[in-house]
């Protein structure tokens, strides 16, 4: 079970990338899910397709597209570097972006289902009591969809932890900077005698994934109980 220095670094980096990607993606995912569930607008099906694209594209393609747009010479990459001094290419921040993009469709799907399950009549009732739209969302919709949000967050986090193809294409496999758990396992399997260290990393990957699912189930049940009021 004990990991060597390189293994710990990869594990820590994976957790950092996963948590960062999940926290950053969550508000945006909630907003997009709400738009898709509750609003009718021009271009809705295009937005829906765009959100789901990373789910169906080969991850390598997604990674390459990220490299083209967010690389140091890409338009978005240059803008971020010049405006905020933020470099994504071949940095852990780029790994977080790749993880965000890949996990995003899973988050949106889970949250959208939860929003669609909330009766809009309850929200109407809140509006007649004087609550403006944003307050209705914060006080009625959000608490009621919390189990779905948690489920979406765990899915996104698990995806972020396991993301490999887009990450390695966009930010390569640099130990200590962009080498996440899957990249480290892949690298170990490429050298003779790396199997033992790889197996230990695989075990950790399983533990984290299982832990995340169990934790989210437990949280969702607690939240659901609180909402149902029993």
């Amino acid at each position: 079970m004990m990991l060597d220095e390189a293994g710990w670094t990869a594990l820590r980096l994976s957790l950092l990338v996963g948590v960062t990607a999940t926290l950053l993606a969550l508000p945006l995912a909630i907003w997009i899910a709400w738009l898709l569930a509750r609003r009718d607008f021009w271009g809705k099906s295009v937005l829906n397709a765009l959100v789901h694209l990373p789910l169906v594209l080969p991850p390598v393609v997604t990674g390459y597209l990220l490299l083209l747009s967010f690389g140091r010479n890409g338009p978005a990459g240059r803008f971020l570097e010049e405006t905020f001094g933020l470099v994504l290419a071949f940095r852990w921040t780029g790994a977080a972006l790749a993880a965000m993009v890949m996990g995003f469709p899973l988050m949106v799907r889970a949250i959208r289902l939860a929003i669609e399950a909330v009766d809009p009549k309850i929200e109407d009732a809140a509006r007649t009591l004087g609550a403006p739209g944003w307050a209705v969302f914060g006080s009625i919709t959000l608490p009621l969809i919390l189990p779905g949000v948690l489920a979406g967050a765990v899915m996104g986090f698990a995806k972020a932890m396991g993301e490999f193809g887009a990450t390695i294409t966009f930010v390569a496999n640099i130990p200590g900077e962009t080498q996440t758990l899957p990249s480290a396992i892949y690298a170990l399997l490429q050298v003779p005698g790396g199997e033992d260290a790889a197996i230990r990393l695989v075990l950790w990957a399983c533990i984290i994934a299982l832990g995340a699912v169990v934790l989210s189930e437990w949280l969702a049940r607690r939240v659901a109980r609180r909402i149902a009021g029993t």
Partner: protein
């Protein structure tokens, strides 16, 4: 406090086109399913944007305001309490925006919901939910109250549990109340004004006593439900269970009157339970005989005819066969006697309301 509503709206085959005013007190919107009742109320609340609307309350233009700025207290058929909040939190939610927290104890007391405050909506009975919903609507400090069939989802006993609260609310609310219903007994008990809706239009409107006694309203209310509403005063409760009530045209003996002696009550007398006689009947088991004058005769589509009667200033309605009208030679202006059976006044039709 006068609500003025003009709404036109079309969806599919249905076209709604109504204009009316509602003053203080309860204005009932009555009609079958699909008559447009809920559409009107939703347009007033702002939950529906009609094709055309001009809605004002004491000159304040309503239809251009967003929902949350209209301050209507809306009581829905399905309560719509917030499931993730306790009863107390549901109430506080309303006073947060309505700023009427000072009335909280009075409203909680009036609706008898003090013991429910820590409970969650999922653990409440239908009647309890509806009482909390009423309290929540009141605490939002509304400019008017909208009630969309608040009793329709409840069974008989639960209805009877809520009705006294509505009686009280009507007297204490002090704002116009639009009350949607397709139950004639509720309307007869609560409403001051009544609008009969049919096919998206106002077919009849006016004070409840006039509309209920209007022969033209019989087909809209249904021949079994039609019947005048009368004001009466309780004079005495007999030991045999019969109570004496004073009407404008005389005294009647009725069963099951709960109101105390001296109380003003409403009686709903079904048109099909009123018999007419050319002379004062003798030796009849029915004891309630009032001298009346025929004011209108209206033949129905079938074999029936609706007869409007004046009973000492009160309007009464009888439904008899068209053949009886012929053989008795009934005509407008004629003086006859109306016979009312003591059991013919439904328990729920007797109200303790002041008018």
């Amino acid at each position: 406090m006068t609500l003025s509503v003009a709404v036109r709206h079309r969806f599919g085959d249905f076209a709604l086109d109504v204009a009316f005013e509602a003053g203080p007190g309860v204005t009932a919107l009555f009609g079958r399913s699909g008559a447009g009742k809920t559409t009107i109320v939703n347009a007033v609340a702002g939950l529906l944007r009609p094709d055309h609307a001009h809605i004002t309350l004491d000159g304040l233009r309503f239809d251009t305001l967003p929902v949350h700025k209209r301050r209507v207290g809306y009581v829905f058929q399905d309560a719509r309490l917030f499931p993730h909040m306790t009863v107390a939190d549901n109430l506080d939610y309303a006073s947060r925006y309505g700023a009427r927290a000072s009335d909280r104890p009075r409203i909680i007391e009036m609706l008898g919901i003090g013991v429910l405050l820590d409970r969650r909506p999922a653990t409440l009975s239908g009647g309890e939910k509806q009482r909390v919903a009423l309290g929540r609507a009141l605490l939002s400090n509304p400019r008017l109250l909208l009630m969309d069939e608040p009793l329709a989802a409840l069974d008989g006993p639960r209805k009877a549990e809520i009705l006294p609260y509505l009686d009280r609310l009507k007297r204490e609310a002090g704002v116009p109340i639009l009350y949607v219903s397709h139950a004639v007994d509720e309307v007869a008990r609560l409403a001051d004004h009544m609008m009969l809706l049919a096919g998206g239009r106002v077919a009849r409107q006016g004070p409840i006593f006039d509309v209920m006694a209007d022969p033209a309203a019989v087909p809209l209310l249904g021949v079994r439900e039609a019947g005048a509403v009368l004001r009466a005063r309780v004079e005495a409760h007999g030991e045999d269970g019969l109570s004496t009530l004073q009407l404008a045209a005389g005294r009647v003996q009725l069963m099951g009157v709960q109101a105390p002696v001296g109380a003003a009550v409403r009686l709903r007398v079904l048109a099909q339970d009123v018999l007419l006689s050319l002379s004062r009947p003798e030796g009849l088991s029915a004891q309630n005989i009032l001298p009346v004058t025929i004011t209108a005769i209206r033949a129905g589509d079938g074999p029936g005819a609706a007869i409007a009667l004046d009973a000492g200033g009160d309007a009464l309605l009888a439904r008899i066969t068209a053949r009886a009208v012929q053989t008795m030679g009934l005509r407008e202006g004629q003086s006859v006697f109306a016979v009312i059976k003591a059991t013919s006044v439904a328990q729920s039709a007797i109200s303790g309301g002041a008018t």
